[in-house]
Symmetry: C2
Subunit: 88 residues, 2 copies
């Protein structure tokens, strides 16, 4: 089966987010009010081939820990959904 | 009302994605097989204060077009959800 995966990589709470802070500081000058707590992360999309959803989830979790995130400062959130079965 | 917003900024189809291509190329050497079509975007989270959901959506759409994305090469996807009412 092929799964569509979205991994959202975010900075852990308490880690400085200069990108987010810069956006937040710039907004009032552009006329946007009421926007707060801006944080900027990465969104990584891909497809993965695996036996079933559990196997796909395990592979993606491993991939996140070993390669896509820096676990010291980043957290990841995984969303999986079936794209198609290999039979198609 | 306060809304929690997630904006996912992605490169439009056909725009070169060197970050995604680099990740994809590196995976087999790390033992990950069956991962394809890697693309890397940004995920921007914030809260916004607005009268109702329609007003919040309009403000965030405007923000995306004018500031958060480069509409020539990027696309954005907005998710909104109520965080709390101002009365709280």
């Amino acid at each position: 089966m092929i799964f569509e995966v979205v991994v959202e990589v975010r900075l852990r709470a308490g880690i400085a987010d200069p990108q987010g802070a810069t956006i937040e500081r710039a907004l009032p000058a552009l006329g946007f009010v009421g926007v707060n707590g801006v944080s900027v992360g990465k969104s990584i999309r891909f497809t993965v081939q695996a036996e079933d959803e559990a196997a796909a989830h395990e592979l993606v979790t491993d991939l996140c820990h070993r390669f896509l995130t820096n676990p010291v400062i980043e957290d990841s959130e995984i969303s999986l959904q079936v794209a198609e079965t290999s039979a198609n």
